[in-house]
Symmetry: C2
Subunit: 729 residues, 2 copies
């Protein structure tokens, strides 16, 4: 299938209709559509080289309980099921229609199905908005037809559904050519159809399945969040997995995420486009630091959605959560017959930040006795012990209580199946035992023993690490967005920005100051004489900086002179700066010279705002100075944030040690910096219709009690689009 | 098996014998031992629950071509092979003996075998130096017996050998219960026996094998490097894989690594203990930055050994190198029927630093036509195209020339086996096509098609990434250690250190200066009056620092005062410092006050030396200042290094951008810093018998042409052990 990052077509013409329909709530829900008792398949055949032939056979093979109507102009029956020459001739209104006809016939077929009374129309056929503007126009018409007929469109360019829970398969993959669909309470909604059947097949080998797997295709009408919303209410689904390339409706996404959080159903997210090079021209540091994936990541974190970067790991983590009922995982026991495997595993667990449990001394002693080993502890090296002995060791580990889960690393040995069974059985049903099965064929009986017991196993250590990391994150996760984040600080008034697009230090700091953010005092002079006069009202030493909208990085052109001890030096500095800038950048228009008090000491931080096209204003914090770009160490959250949340953001930085006071230095004034971050975030929130980027850089943070001060700033303002029209609520 | 990190026993009593033997070269080599035409198995049985029963059956099952003598006191024959009641009664001197008797009988059995004339004695029995001092003593005696009889001991606590090349299996794993041993020109030497059979089994499923797999056990006599040395000369081996926990003989390791380099045989290294917490008390920053794994990593890099962190990936990389004859890999083509898979893959390839190839515009056009797609390029999304079409696309990619390899991401689709076969066949035998097979069972026919063609496939994307990263590293790798690294700079004399263990700034900088390293001028004063006199001879501003071996971090106790503008200020500074230090650390003995010229400007770097117990003095460089500990960004190499090599080290830092001049700043004086690093490395090399740690921190580096200057320094000196006795050369 083509990547379904599609051209977004214009739905404004539907607005009026939609408002009407929303008010009388006439559109069928996904739940109603999936409760279909009759299905028409247009484009069905027996030909197994075709989508329509395979999909139709899979529907029959998995014994859908309702009535099935294949439409075929050439055949009287297909696999013994009588056909109808046209949709119009069906004996009843089909609840659900599946369309597999060629592209040119698709629009008319949608119309026929809607006219016949279908509530949902799945269009498998591709080459619409995924293929260019011409296809996008046909797609728009399809949606219009569906809307007028009070039906929902699903797709086009989608691969339907695999629903073990409904015994409903509308998917053409040969991976479904199996006798039995394994059902597990895990729902999957995917922007890639190929991944869906692939994951079904991979999970099946491990003895796990899904409730419903849904391919969303181009999302012309029904979109990812509609299906997630359905899964949240679905009694057959406990964990939700999604594969997302881009969001159709970010506001809806947030709403559905909040619902998942409230319902306590874990949501695992696989997202492509993580490394997308931030193609936007970087006016500010902030924008280059806060790519669109970072905003997505921040919003997921705020709603307790766990991001994973691999589909298999996502499925396996879901399987673990289901199997062990969301039991939180914090500390791990490692067990292996191989000291070498255990040693390699411990290196990688340590790198991944997964902590090993420390057993009670009593447990260590008992393990030593049971295993007949010279020493014992975690990892548990059970060497060539018999299954009975290994089972006893597992009992001791489970009883100890320090570990919430055991990771068993299996290498070749005799009676591996019995060893694995003994571990799984001795641990008890609720104590998670995960297995990494390192050998190939010689361990297939062990794999089978685990599948029998519905115990998760991994063939590679990477999968285990990913699952444990994700599980650990769920264990620690509480939705980070608290109601206090939306409490406006007392006395904060909405201040308007001066005119202009790119604003320099002086204007930016004036706005910051009006938001109660400490800045160093100063004023702009036209020439050396005025600079000298201004300096008389300040405390020396002072700094002079050139003011020019043509100069982005002032220090690079000699446009910053520090540490001027007296008025005479200020005059000299302005004159020499003028000469130097004129030489280096003869075309730059100099608007003046900013004379301000020099702030000494403190550690540099950067605080900024970046407007994300999906999620609006994002607040960004990181260590400042020249190393900011080297470290690539920032925390991002959607604005506004409370000082408490700002402190959490600061604490999540790799450089958090700096704040606590590294190597005997005094801790920095985190309280003052957190308050500053919160106020900048309110500024961002107040100006979400115009503030594109804002850099407050550097903010100098002094040691505890010493406060912090914004020393430089710049902002980019433009009229910003209103949030996207929410078509599907 | 137990982790084979064993107590090292004392072999000094053997020194005299060994010297003799080395001089007449009478010890048999691994090659001679493995050429054995007769083997005695002591402890053989038919009991498949025992090591001896399984090992003996595997030896017979794989039809060893020589004569086999089982020794058994209770049975006349075993599996039809006549037995002998004792070793003494064998009809000939067996070339090779395998001992599986209980621990208490092992020593006498070794003696009997050696007396009968065995050249090599493999002791499978465990619980010797791996179990404590008592076992270590028996182990020592075994080696002594072997030496006296001009035999080599292999093990104890080892799992023997699996050698498809020699059709020699002396291993008890049931993974060997197969009809055919797959032979590939890949040798494996392992410090873990369990990993060996496990890897054999895993590789077999993918259609790959080994030449020889060797378990080294406790390495009482024959050690890892003896076997690697054998593989380097072995015509059946093209690539070498090792699993190492700790080295027996680091000097030998270096020698063998140099030989591998010279022979052009790639050596892949899996090492445990990577994250071992640097337990040594950190006198200097350098020591805490340069853990023992970093030294190991540096030495591997210097000799072109490629480190991997996963056994499966190691085997698969070896298989790729063999299959594609060490063809270098630089740029990748990605092919997939799934846009989603391709998108996820591109994210992870980008994170891993694996560059995608950019095809010629002509190739893009041709791909578009062949695939009937609206656009084409890398990644190649071949959607639901037929195998014939996919094969044509592959031909175009191979012919284009921009990519050295293709990574094909397979999701469920019809006729997957034909699609995979078409890709592999169209690429041609020498163009690497690697496959990630995402589905489970439904792709087993595709896996079989690839195994038939000896084309490597991966079941997880992680393995593919690891292999591509390793391959890329081999492609770029040239042994970094050049002869110029050993060329002593002209005019450099060996200077002795003053007495004492922990030396402070003044003494350390005196030694640095004598090595031609620029330091800032200054001298130590006893009191304020002397400080004022010293300052008269320096250029102001100056700095005063307290001198005390009791104070590790001077600035933390007010022991550093900067920027003193005149003599009066110097006097005041010393007096106030004295008062402050006395208050904060009343027990600290103050040796004086260092008065020195203040160095302004420049970017801080740290240069240091850490004595590694395996590899001797290592030179360490990184970005300095408070962020050094946050960044954890250092380069390590064994001393000495040439300025050229030092520049390469600096270029490998994450912070290398700083050196080139970040954001319009002038580039730093890399030449001066490289020269300084080289000179520090010679200092380290000259003092390898005493210099434990050295910090030159910070080194202030100015912009190009401005040089650099060492502003502070400290050193720890102690008598260091001579390099380990090399028992096995």
């Amino acid at each position: 299938m083509l990547t379904q990052t599609r051209l977004r077509h214009d739905l404004t013409s539907l607005e009026t209709d939609e408002m009407t329909m929303r008010s009388d709530d006439a559109l069928p829900s996904v739940k109603e559509i999936l409760a279909a008792e009759s299905i028409v398949v247009v484009g069905a055949s027996e030909d197994q080289s075709k989508f329509g032939g395979r999909l139709f056979r899979m529907l029959l093979r998995h014994r859908f309980k309702g009535r099935i109507y294949p439409v075929s102009s050439s055949r009287k029956e297909l696999f013994g099921v009588p056909t109808y020459p046209t949709v119009a001739e069906l004996p009843e209104a089909p609840a659900l229609a599946v369309i597999l006809v060629p592209r040119d016939a698709a629009l008319a077929t949608v119309q026929a199905c809607v006219e016949k009374g279908a509530k949902g129309v799945i269009v498998v056929t591709a080459q619409f908005s995924d293929a260019g503007p011409e296809g996008a126009e046909i797609e728009r018409q399809m949606v219009e037809i569906a809307r007028k007929g009070r039906a929902r469109l699903w797709g086009p360019n989608c691969l339907g559904i695999i629903s073990p829970a409904k015994r409903l398969v509308l998917n053409s993959s040969l991976a479904l050519d199996v006798d039995h669909l394994v059902q597990s309470p895990v729902g999957f909604v995917s922007q890639s159809g190929a991944l869906m059947a692939t994951l079904f097949d991979k999970a099946r080998r491990r003895g796990f399945g899904f409730s419903h797997m849904i391919s969303v295709g181009n999302q012309a009408d029904l979109e990812l969040c509609d299906f997630v919303d359905f899964l949240l209410d679905d009694p057959d689904t406990e964990v939700i997995c999604t594969y997302v390339e881009g969001l159709q409706d970010p506001a809806r996404f947030r709403a559905v995420a909040a619902k998942a959080c409230a319902k306590g159903k874990p949501w695992l997210m696989l997202k492509s486009g993580r490394t997308e090079a931030g193609a936007q021209a970087a006016f500010s540091h902030t924008a280059s630091l806060a790519g669109s994936f970072r905003a997505f990541e921040a919003v997921c974190e705020e709603h307790g959605i766990v991001l994973v970067d691999d589909q298999d790991a996502m499925q396996m983590l879901a399987a673990c959560l289901v199997r062990y009922r969301n039991r939180p995982f914090r500390h791990l026991a490692v067990m292996s017959p191989s000291g070498g495997s255990a040693a390699l595993a411990c290196d990688r667990l340590s790198e991944a930040g997964i902590p090993l449990a420390q057993f009670d001394a009593e447990t260590d002693r008992a393990l030593k006795t049971v295993l007949g080993a010279p020493s014992a502890g975690n990892p548990v090296d059970f060497s060539a012990s018999s299954p009975g002995v290994v089972g006893k060791a597992m009992e001791l580990v489970a009883r100890d209580g320090a570990a919430d889960a055991a990771l068993c690393l299996i290498t070749t040995a005799p009676v591996l199946d019995q060893t694995c069974a003994a571990i799984a059985d001795s641990a008890g049903r609720d104590f998670p035992t995960l297995f990494v099965i390192h050998p190939g064929e010689s361990a297939d009986t062990a794999r089978a023993a685990l599948v029998d017991r519905q115990v998760p196993y991994f063939d590679s250590f990477d999968d285990a690490i990913r699952v444990l990391k994700g599980w650990h994150a769920i264990g620690r996760c509480k939705p980070a967005r608290a109601s206090q984040d939306d409490e406006r600080p007392a006395g904060l008034t909405h201040v308007t920005w001066p005119a202009g697009e790119a604003l320099g230090e002086f204007e930016t700091k004036a706005v910051l100051e009006s938001y109660g953010i400490p800045v160093n005092r100063g004023s702009v002079a036209k020439d050396a004489e005025q600079a000298v006069r201004i300096s008389a009202g300040l405390i020396f030493p002072v700094v002079v900086k050139v003011v020019s909208s043509d100069i982005v990085h002032k220090s690079d052109v000699g446009g910053v002179i520090l540490d001027l001890p007296d008025a005479a030096a200020v005059g000299d500095a302005v004159r020499s700066m003028q000469a130097r800038v004129r030489k280096v950048m003869p075309d730059a228009v100099i608007d003046g010279y900013l004379v301000q008090e020099m702030v000494g000491g403190g550690t540099e931080f950067i605080v900024g705002v970046n407007f994300d096209r999906d999620f609006g204003p994002m607040i960004v914090v990181g260590v400042g100075g020249v190393l900011v770009e080297l470290l690539d160490d920032v925390a991002v959250a959607s604005a506004p944030v409370s000082p408490t949340r700002a402190a959490e953001m600061l604490g999540s930085l790799k450089a958090a040690k700096l704040l606590q006071g590294i190597r005997g230095r005094a801790p920095l004034d985190v309280g003052a910096l957190s308050k500053l971050v919160s106020r900048v975030s309110w500024l961002a929130s107040d100006h979400r219709d115009r503030l594109v980027e804002l850099d407050v850089n550097p903010v100098l943070v002094r040691s505890n009690g010493g406060g912090c001060v914004a020393v430089d700033g710049r902002a980019l303002l433009r009229d910003l689009p209103a949030p996207k029209l929410n078509v599907n609520v």
